[in-house]
Symmetry: C2
Amino acid sequence: MEVSIKHSAKLLSQANHIVLTAHIHPDGDALGSMLALYASLSAQGKNVRMLLDDEVPRAFRFLADWKKIEQPQSAMPETDLLVVLDSSDLERIGKVKDVVTAPILNIDHHISNLKFAEYWYIDSQVAATGELIFKLLKEMNAAITSGMATALFMAIATDCGFFRFANTSAETLKLASELVALGAKPHTISEYLDAKPLAVIKALPKVLETLEIIEGGQNGKIAVLTLSQEILADFKDDTEGFINYPRNIEGIEIAIMFKEADTHSVRVSLRSKMVDVSQLALAFGGGGHARAAGCTVTETLGRAKTLIIDAAKQLLVTGLGVDDAKRDN
Amino acid sequence: MEVSIKHSAKLLSQANHIVLTAHIHPDGDALGSMLALYASLSAQGKNVRMLLDDEVPRAFRFLADWKKIEQPQSAMPETDLLVVLDSSDLERIGKVKDVVTAPILNIDHHISNLKFAEYWYIDSQVAATGELIFKLLKEMNAAITSGMATALFMAIATDCGFFRFANTSAETLKLASELVALGAKPHTISEYLDAKPLAVIKALPKVLETLEIIEGGQNGKIAVLTLSQEILADFKDDTEGFINYPRNIEGIEIAIMFKEADTHSVRVSLRSKMVDVSQLALAFGGGGHARAAGCTVTETLGRAKTLIIDAAKQLLVTGLGVDDAKRDN
């Protein structure tokens, strides 16, 4: 059932043994939202654990309590409430669903949310789940430490491209302002997020050499980066921000990055300026937002490229999701 | 004499023939501040002109009224007030000072400001001169259109690295929030600012090949990019953001980018995480902020590199300006 923020706060206050989780391939919003909520509930004396079906990516290992995030192994002890953050369906939490038996409270901002939980608090108007957690903590009258403010600022900032994307509202910036007043330090956070090993910068030319530009008709072009396993070996999967190279080229409407996970699995990142690429991602079992989405295609790299690029061309022809109101100025 | 924001508003309201200007090599803050103030004063029925001793860089040619910016040619007609924006000394406005005869109102946020004007309104605590112009327009009870809000949002966002730098305060984000409510669209602005010609992306590997890492002792390393005239030919001077490659490498304290303007003139950009590089820039006749500064060295590229890198090493040894309070978290 749909619940209000007040009801969500009540569910949390009534529970004593709480497990928090978020989606696989966790991003800043998933981790920041989970860590802030964890810190607050722990300070309130709850028995809280964090489970994630993935390692914490290197870039986020500056946040308080990140080492307390566990990976799902054996069945968890009795749990009153499983809080599923920033995830639009149950598959997105991976093996966590197999080890926890409890009613689920789903807090999310994805428009593609399947409303799979016992309780859901979903607001697809906000830029990040972090915005919702911040509001939730206020609703609970929780003390917000600088560590929580840092986690929440990071959650919000990473999901709106540091206040660059179309989802950046006046409210997004107002909440960010409040978080800075509470102790979040944008420059420290961005230094951690932006830090790259020297080897990554040195290997960047190899990535840029894979750039392809594909004509897409009157609605704009498609730009593609292809990261084979060979190229990825230099990056240890730290490819954050690479999608911006094709995305920022003049005249490009859809940017695509292919990452070869193994010989029959390819991770696909999609960005656009006008068309709704979440529809394309959904068609391949993925999800996301109108202008930033992704999916995994279980095919060879070559075959995955053909499939996705054809679908992208099709999307450009139909112009599906083009919203001129969001394009004005 | 030092003036308050109220006094600044009064000086503007008393003047009828006003010339606005800003510093050479204009950045987003210089242009956005000038264009917003121009739009407001024009709407108030003033006779206003904008002079700039440089062309408007390509990236900013989406802002309303940018085509009305003139370059200084012959002596200007009688002027009541010359408003010098975002400039710490009179040399920074180039030839504009030779063609306008009028009392000067200087509105600026550089800590290195020389207080050269008849009237100065300086606040080095704010991230951008755009913050001061926004406050000034409020003080004047001026109507703020979406075009002005766009110019001011861009002014603020570009001077704080889109809310990433140490100068991003709670107030900075609050003002940005208000500007979005007034009609500024962060995603449209950032799309214009981030757009790169395909040729620039294709030529980027050549730039990255010039990367040098120099040991600097216990306070961190120095990373250097060198853009010779040959390399610059591919970029038409659109090197915005390149300094972030050396800046973001793990363990780098000072990042330097050299741009060969001609055989005996080199533009130097400096970035740091802790030490005060504005001191280094000042020593070579430049200026800026503690963590982002620049200067022009009238030497060959090789000689300029030797001079600046030696000074940077020295700065790392003395640790001048290291402020641990700004490094906590």
